[in-house]
C-alpha cells in the first residue's frame, strides 16, 4: 500500500506541482508558461540519464507482472517526471538574449556529457544538485542583480556601460522577488521527488541478472 501511495499520489502530485510552480512567471503581470519544445527535449535527456544511472528503474513502474492499473500509475509517473524535468530546466534558463542561448546550449552539453559519463544514482543526484544550484545563483542572483534598476549613480553608469558593450543582449527583464523563492522551491521539490523515484537497487539488479542468466541457460 505504501508503494501504491507513492506511485499513485506522492510522485504525480510532486511532479505536477513542480510543473505548476515552475511555470509561474511573475513580472508586471503573472503568466503561466508551459515548458518550451527545447525544454521538453532537455527533459527527455534528463529522464534518460535518470534511467541510465538507476535513479529510476522503469521496470518498477511498468512491467508485465504488474496489474493494468499499476502500469497506468507508472506511466503517469513517467509522463509527469518528463514534464517536471522539462519545467525545472526551463526555470533555470534566462528569459531572453544571449544568456538564454548560452544557458540552453550549456544545459544540452552538460546533459549529453552526463549521459556519456554514466554516473550512478548518488553521483547523478549530487551532480544535479550542484548544477541546479549554480545555475540558480547565476540566473536569480548574478543576472538579476545586473539587470535590476540601479539605485546608485555608479550602478546606473556601470549598467549603461554594460548594456552598451553587450548591445543589450545580456540584461534580462526584471523579475519579481518572489520569482526567486518560487524557483528555489521548484528545484528543491524536483530533487526530492527524483530521490523518491523507485530506484534500481543492487538487490534488484542482482535479481534481474539472475533472471537473465536463468533465461539464457534455459535456452541452451
Amino acid at each position: 500500500v505504501t508503494i501504491a501511495v507513492r506511485e499513485a499520489f506522492v510522485l504525480p502530485a510532486a511532479f505536477l506541482t513542480v510543473l505548476l510552480l515552475g511555470s509561474v512567471r511573475i513580472a508586471q503581470s503573472t503568466t503561466l508558461m508551459p515548458p518550451s519544445a527545447f525544454a521538453l527535449v532537455l527533459g527527455l535527456l534528463l529522464v534518460r540519464i535518470a534511467v541510465q544511472s538507476g535513479t529510476l528503474a522503469p521496470d518498477r513502474l511498468l512491467a508485465e507482472s504488474r496489474s493494468a492499473l499499476a502500469n497506468v500509475n507508472g506511466a503517469v509517473v513517467l509522463l509527469a517526471l518528463w514534464l517536471a524535468a522539462a519545467q525545472t530546466l526551463a526555470v533555470l534558463i534566462p528569459e531572453s538574449g544571449l544568456p538564454r542561448i548560452v544557458f540552453g546550449v550549456f544545459l544540452l552539453i552538460l546533459l549529453i556529457n552526463t549521459a556519456a559519463a554514466a554516473p550512478d544514482r548518488i553521483r547523478l543526484l549530487r551532480s544535479l544538485a550542484v548544477t541546479f544550484g549554480t545555475l540558480f545563483l547565476l540566473k536569480f542572483v548574478v543576472l538579476r542583480e545586473l539587470s535590476a534598476p540601479g539605485t546608485s549613480g555608479l550602478k546606473r553608469v556601470l549598467q549603461t556601460l554594460l548594456e552598451g558593450l553587450t548591445l543589450g543582449a545580456l540584461l534580462q527583464p526584471v523579475s519579481h522577488a518572489a520569482a526567486s523563492y518560487l524557483a528555489l522551491l521548484t528545484l528543491v521539490l524536483f530533487l526530492v521527488a527524483l530521490f523518491l523515484l523507485p530506484a534500481r537497487t543492487i538487490e534488484r539488479t542482482g535479481v534481474l541478472v539472475k533472471q537473465r542468466i536463468d533465461t539464457s541457460l534455459e535456452r541452451r
Binding site: L16, S23, L69, V72, A80
Partner: protein
Amino acid sequence: VDERTDQLTRLGGLAFTVAYAAFIGWLFARQPQTVAQITGGLAATIGAYRVDDQAFADGLRFFRADQFVEARMAFARADPAIRDANTQFYIAYSYYRQGWGRLYHDDALYAEGLSAIDRALILAPDGRLVVDDDNLQIRTGEELKAELEAGRRRDSSDFNPMRVFRERK
C-alpha cells in the same frame, strides 16, 4: 484485503492526478491573474459562479451618472473573476462613453473597451450578447465592438467637420 486497498489507492491516485493535471491545463489556458479569477473560473465551470447583485447595481448607478471610473470599480467588484458577459459589456460601454469626444476619441480608453467587449463576447453563450437596457442605444456586443473599432480607425471621416454634431450613444 491488502490487494483491494492497493487497487482502491491506485484508482484514487489516478483520479486525483487526472483532476490535478486538468486544473493545471486549465490554468495554462486561462492565465488567471488573481485568486478571485481562479476560484471564480472554477466555480463557473460547475455553474456555481454568481455576480454580486449589489455591486452590479452600484456600478449601474455610477454608469448612468457618467461616473465611469467609479462604475468600473463597482463592476470589477461585482464580477471579480471576469466571468460575466453582461458586466463586461457594461465595462466596455463605460470605456466607450468615457473615451468618446466630439473632436476626437481617446484611443487608450477605446483599446481597453475593445479588450472588455472581446472578453464579453467570448463569455456570452454562442458569442451572442444582447443587453436588455432601455437606457442604452447600443445593446449588442457586435454593435459596441464596431463602434469602438470605428473610433480607433483613422480615415477621411475624421476630418469631416459635421462630426461635431454627432451624439454619444
